[in-house]
Amino acid sequence: MSCEKFKNLMMGYIDDELNEHDRGAFLGHVRSCAECSSELEHYRKLKEVTDGMKLTSPEDKIWRDYWSVIYNRIERGVGWILLSICGILLLCYGGYKAVEEFIADPTVGLFVKVAILGLIVGVAILFISVLRERLYFWKRDRYRDVRR
C-alpha cells in the first residue's frame, strides 16, 4: 500500500476511528516510514489545537426568540402568498367587470372597443409567452438554487 493510502488512514488513526485491522496496518507502516511518522506528529498537534477551540454561544435571549423569529417568517410567507393570490384574483375580476361595462357602453364607438380588446388580448399573449419562457428555463436551470 502506498503512503497516500496510509495518509487517509492517518486521519482515522488520530481521530480514533479505525478498526483493529486498519489500525494495525497503519501502525506497522508508520514504524517503517519516517515521512508518515513525522507527518503524524504534525497532524496530532494540529488536532490538539483545533479540538481545544470552542465557539462562543450567543446570549440566552437569542435561543428564547429563535423559534418565534422562524414562526413569524413562516406566517408572513403565508400572508404574502394569500395577499398576492387574492390581489391578482380581485384585479382580474375588476378588470373583467370594467371591460364588460366598457363593451356594453353604447356611447363608445366600435373602433375604440375593438382597439381596447386588441390591446388586452395583446398584453395577455405577451404575459403568457414571457411566463411560459420563464417557467421553461427555470425548470432547466442548474443554478436556480444559487442566489445571485
Binding site: N8, E17, L46, Y66, W67, I70, Y71, I74, R147
Partner: protein, 191 residues
Amino acid sequence: MNRAMDDETHFVVRWRKGETKAFEFLVKKYMRKAYFIALGLVGQHDVALDLSQEAFVRVYRHRRKFDPNRRFFPWFYQILKNLCFNWLREQRANPRIALEDLSERVEREELSLSFDPNLMVERDAVKDRVWKAISSLKPRDREIIILRHFQNLTYREIAEVLSCSQGTVMSRLYYARRALRQKLEQHTEVE
C-alpha cells in the same frame, strides 16, 4: 432505533402534516447545531443566525419534498449548507470592501478572512492563527473541519450528513487538514 429517534420520527410525521408544534420541537432540538454549523461556515454571528433560521423556514415550506425514510437532520443540513455556500459565493462575487482597503490591492481569496476571532471562547495567539487559517480555507474544506472539530461528529455521522462513505470522509479530512497546515505555514511566513 433508540427512543430519541422514535420521538423524532413521531414529530417528523406530524411536521409533514403541517403541525407547527411538531416543527417547533424539531427547531428547538437542532437550532444550536444549525447555528454553530452556519457560524463555522460563514464566520459572522448575525449572518449565521439569519441563515440558520432561513434554513428552517425553507425546510418547513418544502416539507412535502422530504423523504420520510430519511433522517431529518441530514436533509436539513443540505439546505443549510447550500444557503451558507450561496452566501459565501455572493460575498466573493460582490465584496463589500472597506474604504480604507480601496487604496490597497485586496486579493479575492483574502476577502473570506472576515471571521471574527472574538467568536472563540478562549483566545490565544495559536488559536487565533488557526482560526484565521480555517477562515481562509475553501468552503468545502472548512465544512469537514467544522463538522469534525466544532461539532464533534463521528465519521459515521459526517458520512450521513454529507451522503458519502466513511472512506471519503477520511480522505476529505486529510486534504482539508493538509490545506489547513499549508495555510498555517503561509501565515507564519507572512508574519
